[in-house]
Amino acid sequence: DQQVKQNSPSLSVQEGRISILNCDYTNSMFDYFLWYKKYPAEGPTFLISISSIKDKNEDGRFTVFLNKSAKHLSLHIVPSQPGDSAVYFCAPLTSYGKLTFGQGTILTVHP
């Protein structure tokens, strides 16, 4: 029973263009939605989050959009840079402080 799905295992984008990473979930009780970024041989690092009562949160080049009726969120990176190449995980937060991670999307940004 997968509560969180990132249906695109990989995404390839040209430098300077927009990267859009998607995430679908089934549980309406998630309180916060977090995005993590992971480089090879490193642990995941927190990138950006959005509260369930908002529909958009922006931090520099990163914007997360939440569509609660569709149970869908997306992470936009504009403009994409080669250093953004990493695995991105969507991770909704439950009320007990637990994160449920999606399968991850490998983003490759080509120079």
Partner: protein, 113 residues
């Protein structure tokens, strides 16, 4: 800066061995977590702890146990390692905020032969 340190980056063990993975955090966080990461499956929660000597099962606890004798240290124990426990193991810690951001260690790549 939060620092979560995992004792080993790479570990090779034999089937049937008892394996200890250690994790230490330096931010006085109440919560600590153990995950494993496998290709195509994301991160799956094995065990977590909200306080010293407390532990809760995550989504895949079978074959694992944990110990939290001190607030800063959370150990994952494989009682009798099996080949299907070959994986990347990640430790994380967090404190009580609305977002409960978890901070991760660099991971331990465990191979069970």
């Amino acid at each position: 800066d939060v620092k979560v340190t995992q004792s080993s980056r790479y570990l090779v063990k034999r089937t049937g061995e008892k394996v200890f993975l250690e994790c230490v955090q330096d931010m006085d966080h109440e919560n600590m977590f153990w995950y494993r990461q496998d290709p195509g499956l994301g991160l799956r929660l094995i065990y977590f702890s909200y306080d010293v000597k407390m532990k809760e099962k995550g989504d895949i606890p079978e074959g694992y146990s944990v110990s939290r004798e001190k607030k800063e240290r959370f150990s994952l124990i494989l009682e009798s390692a099996s080949t299907n426990q070959t994986s990347m193991y990640l430790c994380a810690s967090s404190t009580y905020t609305r977002q409960n951001i978890q901070y991760f260690g660099a991971g331990t790549r465990l191979s069970v032969l």
